[in-house]
Amino acid sequence: MSENTRKFKNPVINWIEYRLPIFSFIDDSVGSNYPSPRNLNYWWNFGSLAGVTLVVMIATGIFLAMNYTPHVDMAFDSVERIMRDVNYGWLMRYVHMNGGTMFFIAVYIHIFRGMYYGSYKEPRELLWIIGIVIFLAMMATAFVGYVLPWGQMSFWGATVITNLFSVIPFFGDSIVQWLWGGFSVDNPTLNRFFSFHFLLPFVIFALVFLHLWALHEHKSNNPTGVEIKGDADVIPFHPYYTAKDAFGLGVFLIFFLGFTFFAPNFFGEPENYIRANPLVTPAEIVPEWYFLPYYAILRAVPDNFIDAWGILPVIITAKEAGVILMFASIIALAFLPWLDSSKVRSAKYRPIYKQLFWVFVADTFVLGYIGAHPAEGHFLLIGRIATAYYFFHLLILLPLLGRFEKTRPLPESISASVTNASSEEGQ
């Protein structure tokens, strides 16, 4: 034990390190003693950006919670009081509101990065799955958080989404009532959502810890998708990636705070500045932008689904099918390590996958666009096609492609690719 203790120059640090080797732990995790591939590009910044955003969310959230009142008669006004009478309350709230958006932007890019470079493949399957669990926990957190200001969209969004659980066979209705704490979305619902909203970010924090633990076991993937083979392939995390991440954070904050200060409601729904009213249904119930693709999938199943196919015994209703598809669209991502049959990780060396990847990205944008529109007419048709393609890509294309695709030759090592790249296009 003690022979493992590293020596530092500062005697105080040494004293602590001898008793609690926290400084070597930091150094081994994000310091000069953590080796990283030397060729990581800027797409690798988004993990740390998501981490910083989580901390920002917790920090601002704690201050909001000091002034927020989780009661149906007071929640809306307490948020307005935060905006008007609490010192810098408007700043806390707008940072928190826009932070939710930024968190999802960072994490979506982070996920797409993983898909492009095949980062989910052996031996990083668990790392990937923990990531998907974090994503699910984020969605739950953002959903219950959005209910807290108790505007019209808060209330009706909560009503629509909690109702989805009623499709669960046999227990559906009891589960929904149990979630509500009553017979509709009401004060008990708001109370428990506040409680969950406070708890979940800390659960996410713990999950991030596991995520990083798994990451450090096999280190980062990299643009070539070729594993680290020797010392020439790696550079110490500090100072190289600390410097690169710090610069990336600067750019990200400019984007984040640009919206926060100059267009704080850009991503929001005006309707949510109207106090919740159980008697008035908004013309259109739309979720926050980051849920739109899933909302499109949810509503993609035709109402006359069963009739349309001429199947007489009604097996499942359109609503049930929609809910199943929506959850399946996320769960399917967790199975990517096994769905994607290619031995080659990076899209750089997979000419067909590379194009299909961008088609898939475009497909999710189309789904997002459809999710913001009423499910009718050609919107519905496009939504159905895009939903079908989403699953076609994950469940059919990826398993087959790995068998037939002719991949480009892989570089011998990361360092070999870097020395060649300078003559090619560069990173």
Partner: protein, 261 residues
């Protein structure tokens, strides 16, 4: 590479924002953009305009619409002196709390006192039922947040207030409704509230319908976003700092990575 990811982030953000924003545009005609002093990165409220807007609200809209998030004391933020605020408040009455004997009523009548700066603006109706009863069953919404609660914000308000017209032939109007293309469904249960010279401005500004609408829209932008000026002022400082700091971080990054080759 850096540029690409900024662009990607922007594209993602903007496209979804834009998609989301035209989602319910189908409901009413889009309001044309007007020029406002509070637009843009350096935008500021025009205090004289806010005061005029308050006058319009008080003399016209307050007959039907509440402004529940605003206290009389807040009026000092738009240029009224403390004495003026006290005087404005004192023109209104609010229910008096219990006295030493615990009495709140005298001969069955609620005892009233003059309003003070710490009171909320007095509301026109005691409750929703009373408001509906006085307005043919329609509910005049609270206006504190209305510019944030409608697409188009101040532009929408200006368009709505100036957009009343006779219904085109063949358009089925319900009883007591007014035709207005900017309102979803083009029928609104509010009669045109203003006309030229509906108020007389103390500062001599000509009170055209357009001017009155503009002033009250600006005032209601302030009631919805009283932090707007602070927000933009601090925002500029923060962004200037961040841009310089990020440029320095970029230089540091370049220097650190230069060692590699």
């Amino acid at each position: 590479m850096g540029k690409i990811f900024i662009a990607a982030g922007l594209a993602l953000g903007l496209s979804f924002g834009v998609f989301a924003s035209d989602a319910s545009a189908s409901s009413g005609k889009a309001a044309p953009s007007q020029e406002w002093t509070f637009d843009g990165v350096f935008g500021n409220f025009d205090r004289a305009q806010l005061k005029r807007g308050y006058q319009v609200y008080q003399e016209v809209c307050a007959a039907c619409h509440s402004l529940s998030q605003i206290y009389y004391r807040n009026l000092s933020e738009i240029g009224f002196t403390e004495d003026e605020v006290k005087k404005i408040a004192a023109e209104f009455e609010v229910p008096r709390g219990p006295d030493d004997e615990g009495e709140t009523h005298e001969d069955g009548e609620q005892i009233m006192r003059a309003a003070k700066p710490f009171d909320k603006l007095v509301q026109p109706y005691a409750n929703e039922q009373a408001a509906r009863a006085a307005n043919n069953g329609a509910l005049p919404p609270d206006l504190s947040l209305v510019t944030k609660a409608r697409k188009g914000g101040a532009n929408y308000l200006h368009a709505l207030l100036t957009g009343f017209a006779d219904a085109p032939e063949g358009f089925k109007m319900q009883d007591g409704m007014s035709y207005n293309v900017y309102f979803p469904g083009a029928q609104i249960a509010m009669a045109p509230p203003i006309d030229d010279d509906a108020v007389e401005y103390a500062d001599g500004t000509k009170a055209s319908k357009d001017q009155i609408s503009r002033d009250v829209a600006a005032f209601l932008t302030w009631t919805a976003e009283p932090e707007l000026e602070d927000r933009k002022r601090i925002g500029i400082k923060v962004l200037i700092f961040l841009i310089i700091f990020t440029a320095m971080l970029y230089a540091v990054k370049r220097r650190v990575w230069a060692k590699l080759h």
